[in-house]
Amino acid sequence: MIARENPFAVQRVLAIRYRLAGISWDELLDRLTALRSRAALVGPHGHGKTTLLEDLGARLAGRGFRVRSVTLHEGDRRLAAPQRRELFKDLAASDFLLLDGAEQLGRLAWLEVRTRARSAGGLVITSHRSGLLPTLHECRTTPELLAGIVSELLGKEAAVEELFARHEGNVRGALRELYDSYAAHPNPHPLAPSPDPSLPPSPGEGEGFVKESFPLASPANFSSSPGVGGREGSGEEAGR
């Protein structure tokens, strides 16, 4: 399957935004205010932190803040010059800083961010671990969440429990595997109805995960699950 037809192309995945569970956006923003606008979104790779941070930034911009965002990549122990300018140049109380992947920074670089951010209206980071700033929200994933996203992308229900377990809740990793599976599989795509089992297998049958781990399933209730878009990219950076 060519890229533009792949239902798991990054552009389609990114169109699915974060789905808060157990808390409304107003409550989340109130919680952020209660934390003096210095807080962290915490969770493992592929759990939607970046997507939630982007959505939070849009809402902060809607409240009149000038949002200044920087994304750190694997191994970025300090801010690069352009990133420093983006975050700190002419910093004012009307600015809100968003730092994706703050756990990458070295100790001194992180201390500098915290110190200089005092001039800003707020600072929200994402991190794989808690402790850098008070936790605003812990990003979680469930099989039902993944099933909901897959269903939305495919336009049909699918069982993804094994896929979810294999990726240990990393929804982006699971969606990337689905992309590869669809890319590798000739038409008809892997979710086409299974052939009659009494017939001999056709060439290539049994390859990939779909036949083993992606059977069609009954509808799952995922309406209240937290959603994960997740920015695709290279290496571990994509895990935020």
Partner: protein, 125 residues
Amino acid sequence: MSWIRIETHGGANAFLPGESITGSVYWELDPPVTEIELRLIWYTEGKGDQDSQIVDTARFNNPEPAEGRGFTVRVPQGPFSFSGKLISLLWALEAVAQPNDRAERLPITVSPTRREILLQSQTAE
């Protein structure tokens, strides 16, 4: 109801590198907008981050609430429209109204054969 429509001359949707594209943009917009821009763009879709570029534009200042205006944009020498398993490069004409960013997109193909190029590994399937 607000709408924007892009039409190319003769309904053409595939073009050669270096060719000019002529057509018209029609709209009916409520509330009225201050500017409409017709853009010739390419963008990628697939497994990785998206790349995109605006390669030519035609701007319509002070548009009436309901109107149509002609445009001409020029296709560069490349890149060509192509698809593989990991990435597709797609071309489009896009009309964007300001200040509300209402947009309409018309997919087109750019290549020496006027057809999307399918990469070898794909065509071998």
